[in-house]
């Protein structure tokens, strides 16, 4: 027969588990607020379509939520999410080949600033956009993600190394190789 102390211990465990569940939910909400932008940008760098990028990033968060309780090191959530989003975006790109539908409206607005684009400016921006993404897409995947993350994370190579799960020396080498290849492609 269980003693009163044993039953009381079970009750305490139940309460502790419920508290932990609440803590997990709050923790996930915090991570969602922190990492929404990078997940969306990573997806956008692959798909270049706003709705598709949001869809993939949201799906990545939902997947992360399903497995969040099994993540041992919560500090690695961001890296885990970025890699998952990157893979899911590549899968989406392969699946629907909608990457040809560039989000020109976003691109042109940012490339040309707030000024009203003339037809010549719009044409030039379109050409620059095409060259940019053609060159980026021509990079091997490992180099490509480094270039993208370096430009998303404002050249914080330590953070990029954490995100891709590689030593910083490897990241530096990949960035160097990527830039060399981009330069060659753009000449």
């Amino acid at each position: 027969m269980r003693t009163f102390a044993g039953q009381f211990g079970d009750q305490l465990l139940t309460v502790a588990a419920a508290d932990e569940a609440v803590g997990l939910e709050d923790d996930f909400e915090t991570r969602l607020a922190e990492s929404s932008r990078i997940a969306f940008r990573v997806a956008f760098s692959v798909l270049r379509h706003r709705e598709d990028a949001e869809d993939v990033a949201q799906e990545a968060f939902a997947k992360a939520h399903r497995n969040f309780s099994q993540l041992r090191d919560r500090d690695r959530f961001r890296a885990w999410l970025v890699r998952m989003t990157w893979r899911m975006a590549l899968d989406r790109q392969r699946a629907n080949r909608r990457h040809a539908r560039l989000d020109h409206a976003d691109w042109e607005a940012r490339a040309l600033g707030a000024s009203t684009p003339t037809p010549a400016d719009a044409l030039e921006a379109d050409e620059r956009s095409r060259r940019l993404w053609t060159a980026i897409d021509a990079l091997p995947e490992k180099l490509r993600i480094v270039v993208v993350l370096v430009n998303i994370e404002d050249h914080d190579l330590n953070e990029v190394a954490r995100l891709v799960g590689a030593p910083i020396g490897t990241v530096k080498w990949r960035l160097f190789a990527a830039r060399r290849k981009l330069k060659r492609l753009l000449q």
């Binding site: 609440v22 939910e25 607020a33 969306f40 940008r41 490339a111 050249h155 830039r179």
Partner: protein, 175 residues
């Protein structure tokens, strides 16, 4: 290698933000997942059932542990059986019965120790020699020679004579 001009374009191209409804969309997607409920409600639903199931399993295990024959009780039971067999059967037969009887708890320790000796060592050796004799031709399987002693005389049974009861014998008469 320094930053390329194209990277500035890339940085500009990637400086896009998700829509304000992005987080709400994530929450809606999580809520709409089939068979998925929030952790809080999942714990509320499953934790009492899990605790009850664990308690039931613990109770069954505890009951089995208290009723399971221990090594000591098994030894006592075996000792009781050997006592009965040695009391009711001849010693040689009891040794076979002990080995073939259904043992309640044949532990490894018991098997390592070997069967208990319930007959004397000399008797056991003689029995083994008797069994192994014909196989090794150490025992002569020839018939025992006929004895030369004179045969026993025939038994004569005299006829039984029953004398009739006399009338004045007084049987049934009160004396």
């Amino acid at each position: 290698m320094t930053e390329l001009p194209i990277e500035r374009d890339l940085r500009d191209a990637l400086s896009v933000d998700p829509s304000p409804s992005f987080a709400a969309g994530v929450r809606a997607r999580i809520a709409a997942e089939p068979g998925t409920v929030g952790w809080r409600s999942a714990f509320r639903m499953w934790m009492p059932a899990a605790v009850a199931a664990l308690a039931a399993v613990a109770l069954v295990v505890a009951m089995r542990t208290s009723h399971a024959p221990t090594a000591g009780s098994a030894r006592q039971l075996l000792a009781g059986r050997s006592m009965v067999s040695t009391m009711t059967l001849p010693s040689t037969a009891s040794s076979f019965v002990r080995q073939d009887a259904p043992v309640v708890a044949r532990s490894r320790a018991r098997e390592a120790r070997g069967p208990d000796v319930v007959i004397s060592a000399s008797e056991s050796r003689a029995l083994l020699k008797l069994i192994a004799g014909p196989r090794t031709w150490q025992l002569d399987p020839a018939p025992v020679p006929v004895s030369t002693a004179p045969p026993v005389a025939d038994l004569v049974i005299e006829p039984i004579v029953i004398t009739p009861l006399s009338v004045d014998g007084g049987q049934g008469v009160r004396q």
